[in-house]
Amino acid sequence: MIVPLDLVLFLVLIVTAVLALAVKDLLAATALLAAYSLFAALLFAGVLAVDVALVEAALGAGLTGVLFVIAILATTRHSSPRPDARRRWAVLPLIVAFLGLMLFASTGLPDRGDPDAPAQRGVSQTYLADSYADTETPNVVTSLLADYRSMDTLGETMVIVTAALAAALVLIRRVDDPSDRTDDPRDTPGGDADLDRDLGPADEDGYGGRGPR
């Protein structure tokens, strides 16, 4: 890959990431996050990870943005948290320590693109050499995904179906209770009670079950 282009893409990534966290308007932050994912997809394509670039462009830049926009439209668009300077000063040393530790650790990593790196000399050699004879599939990532490491893929598939079901369980409302259609738990005496049953007794506020705090 052309090195300066690489560097420029990384700088754009850093700028979009900072802006996505800094802007007050959450829809603008979502747009910046989608741009961040799109530039990451370009970087993936630049280092020849074509499958990853395709998935990142479709999922990271496309569908994640849609999910964020839907959630923001269902809640609020303005990010207005109380400024908490104390926490910022408490966390910054942590982040600096994390950075220092990781920088120290990265000195032991092999150079970029080194063909003799330990990761390159492992089982991937076998996959590349045998893929066509074993599966008649020129795209080695596909034969890895669905044949050599299909147990892995089975687990991942289960995870995303479970994630979707979990999201549904968090948000779904009862069919037999028309009053539960409103967005406020206060005027649904029976509506949220059975959701709270496992958390503790419902209190008169309607959002019962004191949390762990």
Binding site: A58, L73, A146
Partner: protein, 145 residues
């Protein structure tokens, strides 16, 4: 907020675009053997083809194209299909998910693996499609008609 979009340009363009995105998604699922693509990317494209009408067209129309039940149904069917394909070699004495162990007359083991990969990709695509449509449906709060 979600539903018929006020601008007719957006509505028409999205309605025209949606079938092509679906088509491209099917192509990506089927083309995973020879180029970038496969179940995950293809499933997402198909899901986007189904979600686009939900964001722009009137609700009844969008839900007639892809009903809300499609999400959980496709997710479950995809996962089950994957598990069934994995169990098939067990019945003939192979190990779990080792499609090559299934003997089909006139086909070499590598060809059987090729077909097994195709079925698994389709199953993964279905599951991803279902999961994404379900997540979008519950987030928009339109999870039941």
């Amino acid at each position: 907020m979600i539903g018929a979009y006020p601008s007719v340009v957006v509505r028409v363009v999205c309605a025209l675009l949606s079938p092509f995105i679906l088509m491209f998604g099917l192509y990506v699922v089927a083309h995973g053997h020879y180029g970038p693509g496969g179940g995950f990317a293809g499933g997402v494209f198909i899901a986007v083809g189904a979600i686009l009408p939900r964001l722009t067209l009137p609700e009844e129309l969008a839900y007639r194209l892809v009903p809300p039940a499609a999400g959980p149904l496709a997710g479950g069917v995809g996962l089950l299909l994957f598990l069934l394909v994995g169990t098939l070699p067990l019945l003939v004495g192979g190990s779990f998910l080792d499609y090559g162990a299934v003997e089909i007359a006139g086909l070499e083991a590598s060809r059987v693996r090729y077909l097994g990969i195709l079925v698994v990709e389709a199953a993964v695509g279905l599951a991803v499609f279902g999961a994404m449509v379900l997540i979008v449906d519950v987030l928009t709060g339109k999870d039941r008609p």
